[in-house]
């Protein structure tokens, strides 16, 4: 009898919840019981509320059990889970779990399904089809397909990828570069991490195609140091892809070359800003550059450079494989395709939800996420990372679309959704926004460097009830100054969470006892 195939994710969150121990324990018991099993360490399906999620391969498909702890192993074997037996932790077919079934997974099509480093698995699941197609097109045709898809930068800025690529294609330089921004520093986000840990070849494929499209032969992935598992997977994947001829010279048997190198950041949030990232890659302090010149014209080492986020580049292969029109048929308004949203913070069912643009925040948090983890009413939802607004209930009907969010002074950013319940201290959150800016500012622009410190002081005065009206006005002015007087989004958007708290949770900034006094 063939060995029974089990899937236990080797993903940071799965492991953080005990997947390694569960894997070891299952293997031990199987050995004792003389049951032949084969364990595949896949990526996570993104149903993090069920991690560690153990899947058993059956003729009907994979059957899910989770969240499994070491203490459950005995009862799982007793329930004959390896033959899909009934158990309180059983969820039936993984693909039928509503959280997963109701998604539209394009970029994440393989995530959690394949073995991350297996090239044959990758190819059996449509891997390198985009690259094959790309090799039959000239550069301009490739750029045109990306333009047609309507893909916009998924790092947060949402700049049309095709236009950036066109600029690099048209720019002259002795060398051109493809730089992948894998400095995923926004709290509440993990989609880049998941791609790199679960499906690293899709990123490599996307970067090779980008190289073909603009005539670049060197690529860099700038990965944050907080992601050691992603570093391990990417390092191995780059080597294996080189050996198989998907990187290096004569890619896929063509005359094209592309070399890829992984570089590790060093704990600076600002290096997620593209020009600071380039400075860091060049071996310097991660200080933001003034634009122009655009990196597309004078980027890494002064040469034309594409800087794209992981998700942007990882979406390129499916666009090439299925066509620009296929991708652009998803979405709403000027937001085309899908956005991998990440449900985080105080959420009952946290994880990765890839959907076409257009679903509302409320659907996402309450249908997929099932509300708060604490079971207390949700109070605020911060969308788009530490520079995103805290949205009160009346704004949860906003559709997930770049323009709709801009219209309410909010951002979708990189798709992070952090839920807070009624116990959240919004004054503390406002203070933290300024504190984070103080810690992470590169120091180039005065409003960001000094304004963040002044912001903490002013918020402290307000919460201490010291001349609150005047200080609230001062805080409003300070926010305006930071927004208009900073070169990049760090200083320019740090006020967004603060302003949203002033607008929607303003009474929480004042001390509780003084509130009564001021009303009198």
């Amino acid at each position: 009898m063939a060995a029974i195939k089990l899937y236990i994710p080797d993903d940071t969150t799965a492991v953080a919840m005990g997947a390694d121990d569960v894997c070891q324990a299952i293997s031990n018991v199987a050995k004792q019981k003389d049951i032949e099993i084969e364990v595949v360490r896949n990526g996570s399906r993104g149903l993090f509320y069920l991690e560690p999620l153990v899947e058993v391969a059956t003729s009907q498909g994979r059957v899910a059990y989770g969240p499994v702890t070491v203490d459950d192993i005995e009862s799982l074997f007793a329930a004959d889970f390896i033959h899909a037996g009934k158990h309180p932790l059983a969820h039936g077919l993984t693909e039928e779990i509503p959280f997963l079934k109701n998604q539209q997974r394009l970029t994440f099509a393989r995530v959690g399904i394949t073995e991350p480093l297996s090239l044959s698995d990758y190819q059996q699941h449509d891997g390198f089809k985009g690259l094959q197609k790309a090799l039959t097109h000239c550069s301009q045709e490739l750029v045109d397909i990306v333009k047609e898809s309507g893909l916009r930068g998924r790092g947060g800025a949402a700049f049309p990828a095709g236009i950036k690529w066109q600029t690099v294609l048209d720019a002259r330089g002795s060398e051109k570069y493809i730089v992948c921004n894998a400095d995923e520093g926004d709290s509440g986000t993990f989609s880049d991490r998941m791609i790199m840990e679960a499906d690293p070849y899709v990123l490599i494929e996307g970067m090779v195609i980008a190289g073909l499209a603009v005539g670049a032969e060197q690529g860099y992935i700038y990965l944050r140091s907080e992601y050691p598992k992603a570093a391990e997977k990417l390092t191995a994947a780059i080597t294996l892809a080189e050996q198989a001829g998907f990187l290096g010279n004569n890619i896929g048997g063509s005359n094209n070359s592309f070399t890829l190198e992984l570089r590790i950041g060093a704990g600076a949030y600002i290096c997620g800003e593209e020009t600071a990232l380039l400075e860091s890659l060049e071996g310097k302090r991660g200080m933001v550059r003034a634009k122009p010149p655009l990196p597309a014209i004078e980027g890494l080492f002064g040469q034309p450079t594409i800087v794209n986020n992981v998700i942007t580049l990882a979406t390129i292969p499916i666009i090439l494989a299925k066509g620009g029109q296929y991708y652009q048929d998803f979405g709403m308004g000027r937001s085309r395709g899908t956005l991998p949203m990440q449900l985080a913070g105080n959420i009952k069912q946290g994880g990765l939800v890839e959907l076409a643009f257009g679903c509302t925040l409320e659907q996402l948090v309450f249908e997929f996420g099932q509300g708060t983890y604490s079971a207390k009413p949700a109070k605020a939802i911060q969308v788009g990372g530490p520079l995103g607004a805290y949205l009160p209930k009346q704004q949860w009907q906003t559709p997930l679309d770049y323009e709709s969010f801009t219209a309410i002074s909010a951002v979708l950013g990189h798709g992070g959704v952090v839920v807070f319940d009624e116990t959240a201290d919004m004054a503390a959150q406002a203070r933290f926004a300024m504190e984070f800016c103080k810690v992470e500012s590169c120091g180039k622009c005065t409003p960001c460097r000094i304004g963040s410190t002044r912001g903490i002081e002013v918020i402290d005065k307000i919460t201490n009830g010291q001349d609150s009206d005047a200080n609230l006005q001062l805080l409003a002015d300070l926010c305006d100054t930071m927004v208009v007087g900073s070169l990049c989004a760090m200083g320019g958007m740090t006020p967004f969470p603060v302003q949203s708290i002033m607008q929607y949770f303003g009474e929480e900034l004042l001390p509780k006892d003084s509130l009564a006094k001021e009303v009198l």
Partner: protein, 163 residues
């Protein structure tokens, strides 16, 4: 490891030799030194500067810019507590205080026995199972006082009986 002995010097020289030809070699060099020695000894700065044809001030400037680089020895176990929003939404402020009290440390400090260092971190990408802490290359999710005590027990070299 606090002294910059001959062996440490040799490590630094080897690393520089290995990486100096890379475009933008400085961060890879600094990472390798820290990964090998645990921190970047101040004496390494002159060696790096001379090899990369930069000033010592420039090298120092880069080291001091990045939170990840340490210029003095850290404890055997570096405990990083996530301070970012998703963890805050799940009670990381209380966890942070608990960790500080338990270890009797503030951020950027080492215990006297050099067993533990405490560092803040802003997001570990484990935001759906917050709050999170990281020790070495491992992240721990849904952290709380009880789990933290178990983790400390595991990390300390002596065996502690659990009931």
């Amino acid at each position: 490891m606090t002294e910059f002995n001959q062996q440490a010097k040799q490590h630094v020289a080897d690393i520089i030799e290995q990486k100096r030809q890379l475009p933008g070699a400085l961060l890879p060099v600094l990472h390798d030194i820290q990964n090998t020695l645990g921190f970047i000894p101040p004496q390494a700065i002159a060696l790096i500067a001379s090899a990369l044809n930069q000033t010592e001030a420039e090298i120092h400037g880069v080291i001091s810019f990045y939170h990840h680089f340490k210029t003095r020895p850290v404890g055997a176990h570096v405990i990083e507590v996530c301070r970012a929003e998703a963890c805050q939404a799940m009670g990381s402020r209380e966890l942070e205080q608990h960790v500080k009290n338990t270890l009797n440390l503030d951020y950027h400090q080492n215990t006297k026995d050099q067993q533990f260092s405490l560092e803040p971190v802003y997001c570990l990408g484990n935001c759906a199972c917050a709050p999170s802490i990281r020790v070495a290359d491992k992240v721990y999710g849904r952290m709380n006082a009880e789990k933290f005590a178990q983790l400390l027990d595991k990390l300390t070299t002596y065996v502690v009986e659990l009931n």
